[in-house]
């Protein structure tokens, strides 16, 4: 007799049982209904006017600009971290886990805590900040602080996407490159990087959306100065008290950007999901 490998809770027809279906429906409703509410409640007629206001355009420009710079910084420093992480399989258990924990911290830390920590490090009286203040550099509550806060929270997304790609790529191509005379640097640039390019692209997209939505660390470390540190999420939150229509308009912009990114990010770019 042949034993089916089909899990028991999935019926022969592939249809889920009633309990599973109901729970899944409630869960999906929780995910989708708020967005539907946002779309239904949106002041569509006034939307063009609201979006064209100076405050909105300012926040949008600041958000897109800082998120782009943060993504570039994450790529610059995150790819080397991913390479280090992929080499760490040869290390001892303790340093390997420490490295992984250090990269994971921003993922599990409440962003506000991250913002406080950044303030304690780089604030005027911070460990590094007081030195910087002596040479006339102030970081908190500047656009630079927005970028640092976004980079802090978004970095793990890039590192883990690139590490996953490095792990699944056929690294034996690197051996072939060596026998053809390529130095380790040339091999990395001409073979390894292109092989993991889809992972890097996926990581950069995830990183950009995370940076774009950053709120907690930014408002703690950079504050909310119009045109300087007031990004879209902060502007949307502040407007909710005084001018709900503007808040909804700002929220729609964030939603639209996220959807565009989600649609652009095809399944095959999400490491671990396919293949």
């Amino acid at each position: 007799m042949r034993v089916s490998s089909r899990p028991k809770h999935v019926g022969r027809s592939g249809r889920a049982g009633p309990v599973v279906a109901v729970l899944a429906a409630v869960g999906l409703a929780l995910l989708v209904l708020p967005l539907l509410g946002l779309l239904l409640r949106a002041p569509w007629a006034e939307l063009p006017g609201l979006l064209a206001s100076e405050a909105v355009l300012q926040a949008l420009g600041l958000s897109l600009g800082t998120a782009a710079v943060s993504t570039v910084l994450c790529l610059t420093f995150g790819i080397p971290i991913a390479v280090l992480l992929s080499h760490s399989v040869h290390w001892g258990v303790v340093p390997r886990r420490l490295l992984r924990a250090a990269i994971t911290i921003p993922l599990v830390l409440p962003p506000v805590v991250g913002g406080i920590a950044l303030l304690l490090l780089l604030g005027r009286r911070g460990i590094v900040g007081q030195w910087l203040a002596e040479i006339g550099i102030t970081i908190p509550f500047t656009t630079g602080a927005v970028v640092i806060a976004q980079t802090f929270v978004a970095m793990p997304f890039l590192v883990f996407a690139v590490e996953g790609a490095l792990r699944s790529a056929d690294r034996r191509s690197e051996l072939a490159a060596a026998t053809l005379g390529a130095t380790p640097g040339q091999t990395f640039r001409l073979v390894t990087l292109p092989l993991v390019a889809p992972g890097i692209a996926a990581g950069a997209v995830l990183c950009f959306t995370r940076a774009l939505g950053e709120f907690g660390a930014t408002i703690t470390f950079a504050g909310s100065f119009p045109g300087v540190t007031r990004t879209l999420p902060i502007a949307s939150y502040l407007a909710m008290n005084s001018d709900p229509d503007t808040a909804i308009a700002l929220a729609l912009v964030l939603l639209a950007v996220s959807l565009v990114v989600l649609l652009g990010l095809r399944d095959r770019w999400l490491p671990g999901v396919v293949k």
């Binding site: 034996r172 191509s173 051996l175 072939a176 060596a178 026998t179 053809l180 001409l190 292109p194």
Partner: protein
């Protein structure tokens, strides 16, 4: 120049130990059962795994020289073509890493494409090649680096039966034209007969016999050699 090999390669199950010479223009076949250490030996000569002993080309000791400066070309078992590069750029790769840009490197690769009948496939990517085509690209890519020694690891293993005879004849011709010492790892008697001048039999990391196939058949040293050479 003559390639002189006298190495020990450490492996989990057993060490691989072999000593032999291959003069210019000669092709040595390395044969033996699966897991005998043939590929490990080849990887050691290419500098891709650590080995102790001596690997000399003429009077030059290569053992301490890193793979990228050994001048030893390798055709890998599943070819390991660069999946993100076209056929042209795969063949141009060696020229590209020697300096100058892609344009100059592609110009240098062009005659190799002609020689291996790859001109029409120049812009294809490896995933759109048949097994025979991929093998031609792999050999062209290795030879375009102008290596002093050429190593081929089971170059016929992944090819369909219908095309084997033609591909084998082509490969034998290219090996004769190469001119330097060459080593072909194979487990197939016909491949050894067509490609190699003589064979070295490796069993469990040890050389058990060396000679032409006729010599092996006349006085087989082990039961495996007897089955192989018959």
């Amino acid at each position: 120049m003559t390639l002189t090999v006298d190495v020990t390669v450490s492996r989990d199950a057993f060490d691989v130990r072999a000593a032999f010479e291959v003069p210019d223009g000669r092709v040595l076949g390395i044969v033996g059962p699966n897991g005998a250490g043939k590929s490990s030996l080849l990887a050691a000569i290419a500098g891709l795994v650590d080995a102790s002993g001596a690997i000399r080309l003429g009077e030059t000791d290569l053992l301490a020289v890193p793979a990228q400066r050994r001048g030893i070309g390798v055709v890998f078992q599943d070819f390991l073509l660069f999946p993100h590069l076209s056929v042209l750029d795969n063949v141009a790769f060696a020229a590209r890493v020697r300096g100058g840009g892609w344009t100059a490197a592609r110009a240098k690769a062009d005659p190799w494409l002609t020689r291996f009948d790859l001109t029409e496939l120049a812009q294809r990517h490896p995933d759109a090649l048949s097994g025979g085509q991929a093998q031609r690209v792999a050999v062209a890519r290795a030879l375009a680096a102008e290596p002093a020694v050429l190593l081929l690891d089971e170059p016929m293993a992944s090819l369909d039966v219908e095309i084997r005879d033609d591909v084998r004849a082509d490969l034998a011709r290219h090996l004769r034209e190469f001119g330097g010492p060459a080593i072909v790892v194979t487990h197939d008697r016909e491949d050894a007969a067509a490609l190699a001048d003589e064979v070295l039999v490796l069993e469990r990391g040890r050389v058990v016999q060396r000679g032409t196939l006729a010599e092996l058949a006349a006085a087989p040293a082990t039961p495996w050699v007897e089955r192989f050479a018959r």
